[in-house]
């Protein structure tokens, strides 16, 4: 089931590539989690937390922040949960633009 989000046309050529980039990042994050590289996960999660809202996707910033906090405390389960939540969100989201 898709989640529809309506954004101003300003985001039309910004948000779709942003979503694609985040999708590509999911596998890297999974590999980092398996390797136990929480430091690198934290860096990526920090960028996700600091960017999602700027593209009209506050949910991504929220998940990124949770992942960042979990990676600081090296809580693999919480990182995994955030990662799967992010993956689901990215796969389900459908962005519409209004003029």
């Amino acid at each position: 089931m898709s989640k529809e989000i309506e954004l101003p046309v300003f985001y039309e050529d910004l948000t779709p590539p942003y979503i694609i980039k985040r999708k590509k990042e999911i596998d890297s994050l999974r590999e980092l989690l398996i390797a136990g590289d929480f430091s690198e996960i934290q860096k990526i999660a920090h960028k996700i937390a600091g960017s999602g809202g700027s593209y009209g996707l506050e949910e991504i910033s929220r998940i990124g922040k949770e992942m960042e906090v979990a990676s600081i405390s090296e809580d693999a389960l919480k990182v995994k949960n955030s990662l799967e939540e992010l993956s689901s969100f990215l796969n389900e989201i459908k962005v519409l633009f209004r003029g």
Partner: protein, 131 residues
């Protein structure tokens, strides 16, 4: 209106640089945005362009924004260029260090919307006349 509308953004995230590129094209197409992803690139641009204003991220790939602020403060010609921090780092210690190093303002990422970002920048005296 100012004669010099050259703005430099120092951020290692190309998405954020693209965001500001689009943002300034919409709010004032006369603004020319120069982009640097590192301090070396930033200093090269500052030496070769007449930069009126700097937007600085704190968390660069190999350096920090505070490194730039300290360098800026040691150079009298660069020191006069106003700097605004754009960062998701909001720890009080970090913010205080930036203020102590002479920043004009601190804008938290992510931005709620481009309209709010515009309103926020308009409140900064050194920036207001550009928008």
């Amino acid at each position: 209106m100012l004669d010099n509308l050259n703005i430099l953004i120092i951020d290692d995230d190309p998405e954020i640089r693209s965001y500001f590129n689009k943002f300034f094209k919409i709010v004032n197409s006369d603004i020319q945005l120069f982009e640097a992803e590192s301090l070396v690139q930033a200093i090269d641009i500052i030496e070769n362009q007449d930069i009126a204003f700097i937007l600085l991220d704190l968390n660069l790939e190999f350096e920090t924004g505070v490194d730039f602020l300290k360098f800026r403060n040691s150079m009298s010609d660069i020191k006069k260029i106003p700097v605004v921090i754009i960062s998701s780092h909001t720890e009080q210690k970090m913010v205080k260090e930036c203020i102590n190093n002479g920043i004009k303002d601190f804008i938290k990422k992510p931005f709620d919307s481009y309209e709010q970002l515009k309103d926020r920048l308009k409140k900064i005296p050194a920036f207001a006349s550009m928008l």
